[in-house]
């Protein structure tokens, strides 16, 4: 069982993704904005964050930089799950710098693939 922070601005998709992740045995907290994410990161402990980069008023990458600047949040694994293609948003160098575990292109990622990615990353973490 992993504690996941799902950063998803779309209320409907947030409910769909969190239902699927909960169905797979994870504990999920949802944030729709960057400030909600920071508040949740402050208040709770998470193993993994699933992040949409397109967030109103802020860019998800800003949140990533913010996170990686705090030691407490450095251990949190990160999956970017965005409707923006990887090559448009991030170079492999930036991915490595920000310690991003996986970049999933939302339109092409099924719920099963998302859940599988979570399993893979978390099993690597604890192996």
């Amino acid at each position: 069982m992993n504690r996941i922070l799902l950063v998803e601005p779309d209320q409907y998709l947030a409910e769909v993704y969190s239902s699927a992740l909960q169905h797979n045995g994870h504990i999920v907290s949802v944030a729709r904005t960057v400030s909600q994410s920071v508040n949740l990161l402050d208040a709770e402990q998470f193993d993994l964050m699933i992040l949409e980069l397109k967030i109103a008023q802020h860019n998800g990458i800003e949140l990533l930089y913010e996170m990686r600047s705090y030691v407490d949040w450095n251990k949190i694994r990160i999956i970017i799950h965005s409707s923006v293609p990887e090559q448009k948003m991030m170079t492999s160098k930036t991915m490595a710098q920000l310690d991003v575990d996986k970049y999933l292109f939302k339109p092409r990622t099924t719920l099963s693939e998302l859940c599988q990615s979570v399993e893979q990353i978390m099993s690597r973490q604890y192996s």
């Binding site: 601005p9 779309d10 209320q11 409907y12 998709l13 769909v16 993704y17 239902s19 699927a20 169905h23 729709r32 904005t33 400030s35 909600q36 949409e52 397109k54 967030i55 109103a56 008023q57 860019n59 409707s83 923006v84 448009k88 939302k106 339109p107 099924t110 719920l111 099963s112």
Partner: protein
């Protein structure tokens, strides 16, 4: 390049950008429908079929608005503007937006200041434009932290230039400069209205295109403490004479 060729090229560029914006925006309902179907299978929950239907309808409405904007653009000066009752249209739009309450919890309010005659507009185009603006504002509102119950307000009021129809909400981040910039960015940027919504807001640009065919256009406006978008229309001269 002559001025006329340049103008034609500009129209073609705008059409392409609007099409790209629509295509990008259509990914949202398609992702929702596809993932909901997968979740329904995963959870063996057939009640989610209604949600898929609703999401598909939203996508279809957006495509219909886009097609209507193209048809009206193609008609050019031959667009048949008619006398339209703005208050009746706003009332109708408010009711249609109210039906979306199953997905979003908003107060939809109608505020029509004063009495006035009809305006000159294309009835279906006006309805589609107002609906699209309302939907984008509702999406934007649903992405914000909820501090009090969200409000979407539809208004009509007389201005020195004509009669203005507006849709307002408690969402901040919309100002004239941001909106002017977004008009240049849509079709190329992932989030042309990033201060407003995480989506690309194609509905607003389709609404703008529809309104331009009626010799109007969208502008950022404020109503009391709410901000939103409004368009001004000429009063119907024909009925003024009557």
């Amino acid at each position: 390049m002559t001025a006329q060729t340049y103008h034609k090229q500009q129209i073609e560029d705008d059409k392409s950008r609007l099409f790209i914006a629509l295509a990008e925006q259509m990914k949202a309902p398609l992702i929702k429908a596809s993932r909901t179907a997968e979740l329904a299978r995963m959870m063996q929950d057939n009640t989610r079929l209604n949600e898929i239907e609703y999401i598909a309808d939203m996508g279809l409405d957006l495509i219909d608005s886009y097609i209507l904007s193209l048809k009206l653009q193609a008609a050019g000066e031959d667009v048949q503007l008619q006398s339209v009752s703005l208050s009746a249209t706003l009332n109708d739009v408010a009711h249609s937006l109210q039906k979306l309450q199953s997905a979003n919890s908003f107060d939809i309010e109608l505020h029509i200041v004063g009495k006035y005659g009809p305006i000159m507009a294309h009835p279906a185009g006006l309805h589609a434009a107002l609906m699209n603006i309302g939907k984008v504002l509702m999406t934007a509102q649903s992405e914000r932290e909820i501090t009090s119950r969200p409000v979407i307000k539809l208004t009509a009021r007389r201005t020195p230039r004509g009669i203005a129809a507006g849709i307002f909400s408690t969402v901040d981040g919309l100002d004239a400069a941001t909106f002017a910039k977004s008009r240049k960015l849509y079709g190329t940027a992932a989030q042309p209205l990033s201060q407003l919504t995480s989506e690309n807001g194609a509905g607003i640009f389709i609404a703008d295109s529809l309104l331009q065919t009626m010799s109007s256009s969208l502008r950022v406006s404020h109503y009391k403490k709410l901000s939103g978008l409004a368009a001004t229309f000429m009063p119907s001269q024909q009925l003024t004479l009557v």
